[in-house]
């Protein structure tokens, strides 16, 4: 597609349920990022993939958060045993390359707004 696509746009879950958020990056983009944006705050980095390899997961807040990108394109962010503090907008971004071409901008999707009741 023309841009980064995220689904669902809204997700409501009860505390303790597992959720899965999907990101479809721009075709051909090597790098993929997940960010968490709490209400009224700036996005915070969660994890980064280069193709299918998860090179940085330092921002994942707990072991309940898990991300994968098995074929180097679509990525899924999974949150197990959700808690109220997981309520946030989850943004996905992709970029063409990294390293020597790291001035390539990150292109963001519209995000998934997750509400935990």
């Amino acid at each position: 597609g023309a841009g980064v696509s995220q689904s669902p746009r809204y997700k409501v879950a009860k505390r303790g349920q597992d959720v899965a958020l999907r990101c479809d990056p721009i075709s051909g983009h090597v790098s993929l990022f997940w960010y968490q944006q709490a209400l009224g705050q700036g996005p915070e980095f969660l994890t980064y993939f280069q193709n299918e390899a998860q090179l940085d997961k330092s921002g994942l807040p707990s072991d309940r958060f898990f991300a994968e990108r098995p074929e180097g394109s679509v990525s899924t962010l999974k949150i197990q045993r959700t808690q109220q503090e997981d309520s946030a907008v989850y943004l996905c971004a992709s970029s063409l390359a990294w390293g020597q071409l790291s001035n390539q901008p990150q292109h963001f999707g519209d995000g998934t707004r997750l509400s935990i009741l």
Partner: protein
């Protein structure tokens, strides 16, 4: 660790006038990138302008320009001839040259009055 600070939670500007949004950052790196992103209610982060730290010349993109003061670690955004469509949250962001993740500030909500 790098930090980015936006000290203005909200700003207001009259349509057609000029407004400046402030951003300061802290880093021990000598080379890096700085960005301004716009986030309308649709939630999509849209890149407005970017600056490479090794370039002394301030970046400009049509009505948007920056005032990059490397020694002061300051990176402000000037919007000229403000339009109603400029109303949004604006985020300043930092990235190391050899890094990948963006570090964002807390954002400034810009309101444009007709």
């Amino acid at each position: 660790a790098q930090t980015v600070t936006q000290s203005q939670p909200e700003m207001s500007v009259q349509e057609a006038e000029t407004v400046t949004l402030s951003c300061t950052y802290d880093t021990s790196e000598s080379d890096y990138y700085l960005f301004w992103y716009k986030q309308p209610p649709s939630r999509q982060m849209i890149l407005v302008i970017r600056q490479e730290a090794y370039k002394q010349q301030n970046a400009t993109e049509n009505r948007f320009s920056v005032n990059f003061q490397k020694a002061a670690k300051s990176f402000s955004l000037k919007i000229s001839d403000s339009q109603l469509g400029d109303a949004a949250m604006y985020f300043c962001a930092y990235r190391r040259t050899t890094g990948n993740m963006l570090t964002f500030g807390g954002g400034t909500r810009l309101m444009v009055k007709p």
